[in-house]
């Protein structure tokens, strides 16, 4: 009975996993399928053709991928580095310090989660222009340097760490800076890792804000580069090229996931993010 239930669970979960991975699988197969403008086999998940690299050649030829990768990596890393500093400090403040209006300030922080980012495009653009940063990569990063979600996540993470560790450090004569750096951060690593994954994937895939703030083609990010050759509205889809381009955009994240799978899963389990 028990064994049967386990088999059943495995079967159901495999089915769910298959459904989830279908778009990804299709993308990988379509990227190598010779261009045929949606013949009947277009939607097939079975590789029933001689693989071709023509789609990749056309995609690579359609945009300046080296530069797009570089810009995207700069934006994602820049955002992440600053975010990690701001969210751990703010998270620590909300988790451990006592100050007047703490509850109200924290609620204000959480309210940010409810604001739809496109609403802020014009105000943010005006701020960025006044700072003289319009059309720079820094402008693409600036609005994300604080993160309400990150602060919330780090606050929860710090709260799960028993105070005994800090008290022990205090007794040893550590200041609050040392407590954060030497005691709390090492223990909060899974939470930070989970936040990093969410942050990097979000900014890797972001489209609207970079499109708004960046004009110079040399400063464009991957998503915009991909859109320049895949989003014609009045014509047929070159599915092969779209799939190949999407593959190129998604590949670094996919590779990173495969390489660090165990750490990723552990950190999500630990931090309770799903």
């Amino acid at each position: 009975m028990k064994a049967e239930a386990r088999w059943l669970a495995a079967a159901v979960l495999s089915l769910v996993a298959l459904i989830w991975s279908t778009p990804l699988l299709w993308m990988m197969i379509a990227a190598f399928r010779p261009q045929n403008f949606g013949g009947l086999d277009m939607a097939s998940l079975l590789p029933d053709f001689a693989p071709t690299l023509a789609n990749f050649a056309e995609a690579l030829d359609s945009a300046e991928f080296a530069r797009l990768y570089l810009n995207t990596i700069v934006v994602c890393t820049g955002v992440l580095v600053v975010q990690l500093a701001t969210v751990t400090l703010a998270g620590f403040a909300f988790a451990r310090l006592r100050f007047p209006g703490q509850g109200a300030v924290f609620v204000l922080f959480l309210v940010q989660l409810m604001i739809v980012p496109p609403v802020l495009i014009v105000p943010n653009l005006i701020t960025v222009t006044r700072l003289g940063l319009y059309d720079t990569l820094i402008a693409a990063m600036l609005p994300y340097m604080g993160s309400a979600f990150g602060v919330f996540l780090m606050r929860q993470t710090f709260r799960t760490i028993p105070r005994d560790f800090e008290e022990a450090a205090l007794v040893e004569g550590a200041g609050w800076g040392q407590i954060i750096w030497r005691v709390l951060l090492p223990l909060a690593r899974p939470g930070m890792l989970a936040f990093s994954i969410v942050s990097v994937t979000t900014h890797w895939n972001e489209f609207l804000w970079p499109l708004m703030v960046i004009s110079n083609p040399d400063n464009q990010t991957l998503t915009i580069g991909l859109a320049t050759f895949t989003r014609g509205a009045e014509s047929a889809s070159q599915w092969g090229v779209i799939a190949a381009g999407t593959f190129l955009v998604a590949a670094p994240l996919l590779v990173a996931f495969v390489l660090f799978q165990r750490q990723f899963v552990n950190s999500f389990l630990f931090s309770g993010v799903k």
């Binding site: 949606g38 653009l125 005006i126 319009y134 499109l211 083609p217 014609g232 009045e234 014509s235 889809s237």
Partner: protein, 438 residues
């Protein structure tokens, strides 16, 4: 890779040469990419050529997404004090920019060249005038334009015993041919006789073509506060589409996006489709079967709306920027460049003189399908442009989609669409038709 290097080369050259003699005016051109293909890279090389021919100006072409995103980016950039010098904007959005007082009239620049606004706009095909020149001024320069066309698969026609050189000219003939071309396998349709794009933007455009072919006008071309949805001409058009799906069963039920329509046409799963002139080059290059291009079939008259985009100049530019922008706009709409872009994309060239050039004459002899789009221009009408165009258009599209899915009748749909549209237009009407103007 080559492009990037040549850009750097051009930039170094420009930087190296410019400061010595004069400071070049740096401007930006926002452009959306409305059709497939290498339009973005072609626009880039076009701008390299412009910059080489005009050392006093440096234009950066800025890709800005689709038409809607281009509109968002343009407005946001203007509010932030960074207006682009010129924008390629959906031709029917120009009215809204004028209503909101966001663009410069081009009259002073036209007059400075010794032309009158009338003689300037007279260079372009008559059907394009109303979307570019209204309220007493010229507001935009037509850049690339289209009309809906009927594309037919000639192989399918011959196999069904039809003559591909006499494509359906009326709605009745369309229904007839579509019935013969539809192939069913039991209860399953394996090939549809006819398909039209049902997604947002495209559907509204095709519906306006059908309403116009049915004697209607769709909107008031002289006043942005009126649309004619709850009218016999529109109801008849919606009924026609409904019957194609649910009575004659020659068109798939539900919403088929534009891309899926052209994909089905390429794959031989649809024998006739209505698509934009803008798709012509792409279809010519990629269609394996023999195909023909024809006028949109008529019921009461031949009529189609224009589509495509115009160049406009946002407010907030310095005098040097305005002058540079005008040079760019004039260059892009010149017969030579207009014709070149037309041959590259499939759009027709708005500048009539483009068709007097020998390379265009040769091209039309070799590609008679492009001539059909030109011939249909004699019947072309202005494109719907109202206050809040997108929302007003969507009011109709939502209802027609409900009809396509079999959830509403044509009569219910046009009534509901009219009510929604009137509500959207109400604030503008209150400020205009219902108010004495100063």
């Amino acid at each position: 890779m080559l492009n990037w290097k040549s850009t750097v080369a051009a930039a170094t050259l420009a930087l190296g040469l410019a400061p010595a003699a004069w400071a070049a005016t740096e401007i930006e051109l926002y452009f959306p990419v409305p059709v497939e293909g290498k339009l973005a890279s072609e626009m880039k090389s076009l701008m390299e050529r412009f910059n080489a021919e005009h050392p006093e100006i440096v234009v950066t072409p800025v890709y800005t997404g689709n038409y809607d995103e281009t509109a968002i980016k343009t407005r946001a950039a203007m509010k932030a004090g960074n207006p682009p010098a010129a924008v390629i904007m959906s031709a029917n959005f120009v009215l809204e920019y004028q209503i909101n007082n966001e663009i410069e009239p081009l009259d002073p620049l036209i007059e400075a060249e010794g032309m009158t606004p009338d003689s300037y706009i007279g260079q372009f095909w008559p059907a394009l005038h109303r979307n570019a020149a209204f309220a007493g001024h010229v507001w935009a320069a037509p850049f690339h334009n289209s009309t809906p066309l009927l594309y037919i698969n000639a192989d399918h026609f011959r196999a069904a015993g039809l003559n591909p050189d006499a494509p359906p000219a009326t709605w009745a003939e369309l229904v007839d041919a579509a019935k013969k071309l539809t192939v069913t396998d039991g209860t399953n349709t394996t090939r549809y006789g006819f398909m039209l794009p049902g997604g947002y933007d495209y559907l509204g455009w095709i519906m306006s073509a059908l309403a116009m072919s049915n004697g209607g006008e769709y909107f008031n071309p002289y006043y942005g506060g009126e649309v004619y949805y709850d009218t016999p001409s529109m109801q008849g058009a919606v009924q026609f589409v409904d019957d194609l799906v649910h009575v004659h069963k020659v068109m798939p039920e539900g919403v088929t996006e534009g891309k899926a329509v052209s994909t089905a046409f390429f794959a031989g799963q649809a024998s006739m489709v209505t698509l934009s002139t803008g798709s012509l080059s792409f279809i010519r290059e990629n269609m394996k079967d023999d195909y023909r291009v024809a006028f949109m079939p008529r019921n009461l008259r031949n009529a189609v709306p224009i589509g495509g985009a115009s160049l406009m100049m946002p407010k907030g530019l310095s005098d040097e920027e305005k002058a540079a922008s005008w040079t760019l706009i004039t260059w892009l709409t010149s017969p030579e460049i207009s014709g070149h872009w037309s041959r590259f994309t499939g759009y027709f060239a708005p500048n009539k003189a483009a068709y007097d050039l020998p390379e265009m004459k040769d091209f039309l002899t070799q590609n008679p399908d492009a001539q059909v789009a030109i011939d249909q221009l004699a019947f072309a009408q202005p494109w719907f442009a109202t206050y809040n165009t997108v929302a007003v258009r969507k009011a109709l599209e939502d209802e027609v989609q409900a009809v396509l899915s079999g959830n509403k009748t044509a009569a219910e749909a046009v009534k509901a669409a009219q009510a929604t549209a009137d509500e959207i237009l109400a604030p503008y009407v209150a400020q205009t038709a219902f108010k004495l103007q100063d």
